[in-house]
Symmetry: C2
Subunit: 79 residues, 2 copies
């Protein structure tokens, strides 16, 4: 079973990576970019077969390791 | 209009970040993780109003800046 986790900075948190990408896109002539936020995507290949249990386990992984929940939010999708 | 870009290393390319995450999850007691691949997610806020044109422009952004197409693959979603 595969799971996809997105980890993004929370909305109020400054995202210097995103700002750098936005600036670089402007420099390259892409003027229609109003904002950029950059985050991480983590694809997990799980041996679990029960989707609900797998999602619960991945949420614990996020809380413990994959996301810094002080400044980051995460979403879990079971594929 | 919002677009979401995923940039992942191509399948044959070694992913040391993913391996590190997999190892760390194992150390924390998550034994059911067979593989981990880590990539980037980039959320773009675009002023364009035409979805097809926006997707085409974001693909050019990926080719020029957001992805290194020698070792990375990307997907574009218009949200």
């Amino acid at each position: 079973m595969k799971a996809r986790v997105h980890v993004m900075l929370k909305d109020g948190v400054l995202d210097p990576q995103g700002e750098a990408v936005k600036h670089a896109l402007g420099t390259l002539g892409f003027s229609g970019v109003a904002g950029v936020r950059q985050g991480k995507v983590i694809d997990l290949d799980l041996t679990a077969t029960d989707a609900a249990a797998a999602e619960a386990e991945v949420r614990v992984m996020c809380e413990k390791l994959l996301a810094n929940t002080v400044i980051e939010k995460f979403t879990v999708e079971i594929l």
